[in-house]
Symmetry: C2
Subunit: 251 residues, 2 copies
């Protein structure tokens, strides 16, 4: 008998943003593999088994989950946000490619979710209303030179930039260096949005200008959105401004 | 009295992908503004009013919705997918910026959703597993030269590309021209994914190589994902291949 492996995302953290199909998959699952804090968001029954692992052990976790599914279990692999954006879906694919032939015969289903940048954008207005990109600022798995080249290319091309994994205790300088590079290309008045745990009680959210960006609190779970030269800010009395990128672009 | 305006996304079309918080907003709404086919997906009560408008009338729709909210109604503006990605949230912001001062005092809430590229990516594997971008191929609101420059920049920088609005009867040649341009930069074996109505009964889904891309059926609702040079394809017996972009990148 062969089991099933479903890769799900819980959304950015507000329970109202977990899709019904992900909730159904959770209800059907027997074994749950994921980073502890993501598994903590699930309301599991006593008969459902929880296998937590550290943030940095993605391939090991993927292999353990595939192995359990190959033994016949109904397995859920749990990411925050969307599992396809800098998360477990790619790790599962990598493990399948390098693993035993039997893993290619498994029933693998990946369910999309609301990724962090969409929740942060919605909280701010519509900064991703026109062409944009998502870049991981982690240089654990790619050289920093590649990240700098990408940031330069997308900023010069006029795309709004969403940064994932902007900073951690092991990578303290990369975010400030990215802002410095972007200040050479974009106006210092470009809106920059910091969002973390948006929609949760511990939400942090701030909009600053690129010229002032750098000192704001941020960690691995913060999503940073940097506007293009066309991104605009609408002041509102007694409320946060609306930040948006117009649907049109000039030459 | 001032009403409330909530901008929601229904997700890509599979009802299991509409978030609980969007469903709650629909239950609370009195007036619903949107493109007819998106409003058709809602299960409205007889006391809820439906104001459908054409796909190309986004600013007029936004103004009408803001006006109704300013008169005290509880208004929902409805997009497919995520309302912040090439959809109504930016049109609402534009209308607020250009509209009467009273519109800046409205309670405007934007709720994120699952945007098309995430659903197409999940169906394929994890093609957005590393740095990627989303570009609208419509030259209705930006010059074609800007689109070509952006495509070239992101392909050369190694980002996976999700194309929205790839083709319509009024814009028949742009998608083929984009593939031609990308073939100058990327290997002809680069995986290209065509997804439309993913997760719905009328789903269309195909994976081809960039060298063969161009003849596949596509329309405004198709999302096309073009891999980077690092995107890989895993063949599986009796099943669709898994397409994914590794979490690592070389220099």
């Amino acid at each position: 008998m062969t089991g099933r492996l479903t890769v799900i995302g819980t959304g950015p953290g507000n329970p109202g943003q977990t899709t019904p199909e992900a909730l159904e998959a959770i209800a059907r699952g027997e074994m749950f593999f994921g980073y502890g804090p993501y598994l903590d968001r699930l309301d599991l029954r006593p008969d459902q088994r929880r296998i937590a692992s550290d943030n940095r052990e993605e391939i090991g976790r993927a292999r353990a989950a595939l192995d359990a599914a190959a033994r016949g279990a109904s397995v859920c692999v749990v990411s925050g946000g969307d599992p396809g954006v800098f998360a477990m879906a790619a790790a599962i694919c990598e493990a399948v490619e390098c693993g035993p032939e039997t893993w290619r015969r498994l029933d693998i289903v990946i369910l999309p979710g609301v990724t962090a940048m969409l929740a942060v954008a919605a909280r701010a207005g519509a900064p991703l209303g026109h062409d944009f990109c998502a870049i991981s600022l982690s240089d654990n798995l790619k050289p920093w030179e590649v990240i700098e080249r990408r940031l330069r290319a997308v900023a010069e091309a006029g795309l709004v930039i969403a940064l994932y994994n902007p900073i951690s205790s092991a990578r303290p300088w990369q975010l400030a260096t990215a802002f410095k590079l972007l200040r050479e290309i974009l106006p210092v008045t470009t809106p920059v949005i910091f969002g973390r745990a948006v929609g949760r009680p511990d939400e942090t959210f701030a909009v600053v200008e690129l010229g002032d960006a750098g000192g704001q609190p941020a960690d691995m779970a913060t999503c940073v959105i940097i506007g293009s030269a066309e991104t605009r800010l609408i002041e509102r009395p007694g409320m946060d401004p609306l930040v948006y990128s117009p649907r049109s672009a000039s030459a």
